[in-house]
Amino acid sequence: MSNQEIIEKIKSSFCNLTNFKVRQNALEVITAYSTINSKFVSVFITLTNNKIVITDSGWIDQNYYETPLYDEFEFIVNRITTAFKSSFNVKSTLDKEGVEYYYKTCENLEQIPSAVFDLSNFIVGVVNAFCIQYKDEKEEKERETFRRDANDYLKVNYSDMVKLRSALDDFQSIKFNAIINKSSKLYLLTYVTGSTQTYFENDLRKSIVNFEIAVKSKYQDLIKERLTIINDKSEGYLPEKSAFIFELLKEKTTREPVKWTEKERILELI
């Protein structure tokens, strides 16, 4: 196998991958660019208003590339789209029905391949951005497991006395993982976990703020203990690195945080 053979094979394969469809008022170029969800990108060439316009035919906006919908991360995709629009000098316009068309214009035949190249790269980038699950699944799973285990433990030991994901009446937006009402005394509990130091510390900060607010409640006299249960099995539990935040937490709680591996301590305290 000679270099020349390899060169020719690659050149002809790449070239033959590009297909065309003659449409009613556009030439569709089925490009050799594909997305991570296995779609080949198409661009549409048409002559209009004395210009050559190359568009995506509204395919991105109409989800013809069948990307999943992760609504909560739309802002990320929007930022990526904006960045790619400016990098590839792609513009967009809406048609009468509100469908967004991405396009490039050119003056003459010579400019067409370059515009097709840019618009195709743009579409690949945007479609791929839509395909990605930005949510940290490992973190979500670990958090859910810990929350469930802790909830179950409290339910087993305090049954009707425990209210999960509950708030004090006068601060409804501040939710504690659990509030235990035993012998007319309230015990506020927060859970702290995280698969990374950042996630773990975010939970610590949330606990600090919640307890800070709790002492301003009109029920303050009824609150017997403010407690944090920490998942010392989680990868984000790095007590030395997070020492400063742990110190702050101690100022806001009534006891040392309860490690999950020593959860029996909860039964002594409540």
Binding site: N19, I30, S38, F40, Y103
Partner: protein, 223 residues
């Protein structure tokens, strides 16, 4: 006559040939693991999936009316239940059509198997990439109209049957949803109890369908 394409389309065993071809490819191409698009449900229950597709099925609704789709104002949708000869699980036949152009899609779903449609037809839209190392690059692109199915390893695969390989026939099918429904039904061994194929009609009068295929440039202004 509503259906007037090449006679070979009428042969139901056509599907089996294509399916066998697809399945043969399966055994030779199971190594790729690009982006995790494997349908694990289908991979784990491939015999069930194969039975779903190949065994005769009865479409229970003779005339499927398209109504506005709730989740997408630009699409119309209609459906029918399917009675499978050997499987009693719920199987649903879906037809969807864009109000803007003539693009439509037909799908079969079996919720007890998997949440995705297990067999589909796309009249238009992007070409699918069959990115398996044994397929030469220039043959990896399967333009629309095409069928979408699954291989034994749960990987999606697009293909054209002999009818769709003929450009002229493919174009006629892409432009007429009822031709598409007939082709689809033959491909997945489905028909009405009368032996005919279901008919798709718009609930709204056809006159509202004015958009021409692809882009209507009168609607758009460019800088």
């Amino acid at each position: 006559m509503r259906f007037a394409l090449t006679p070979e389309m009428g042969r139901i065993h056509e599907m089996e040939k294509v399916f066998n071809f697809v399945c043969k490819q399966v055994t030779t191409n199971c190594k790729t693991t690009r982006m995790n698009r494997t349908n694990k449900d289908i991979k784990d229950q491939f015999d069930f999936f194969k039975e779903l597709v190949t065994v005769d099925k009865i479409v229970l609704t003779k005339t499927i009316q398209l109504e506005p789709k709730k989740s997408n104002a630009k699409w119309l949708t209609g459906q029918s239940s399917i009675q499978h000869q050997t499987i009693s699980d719920d199987i649903i036949f879906f037809v969807e059509r864009s109000k803007r152009d003539s693009k439509y899609g037909i799908k079969l779903r079996c919720p007890s198997l998997t949440s995705e449609p297990f067999f589909r037809f796309d009249s238009d839209g992007p070409a699918h990439r069959n990115d398996f190392p044994d397929i030469p690059l220039e043959e990896q692109s399967v333009t629309t109209p095409h069928f979408n199915s699954y291989k034994e390893d749960g990987k999606p695969i697009a293909y054209k049957n002999d009818t769709l390989k003929k450009e002229y026939d493919a174009q006629i099918i892409a432009e007429d949803i009822n031709f598409g429904v007939s082709l689809f039904c033959m491909e997945c061994n489905s028909k009405l109890s009368t032996g005919d194929f279901p008919t798709v009609i718009d609930k709204e009068p056809e006159i509202e369908f004015t958009a021409i295929q692809n882009i209507n440039f009168d609607n758009i202004s460019f800088e």
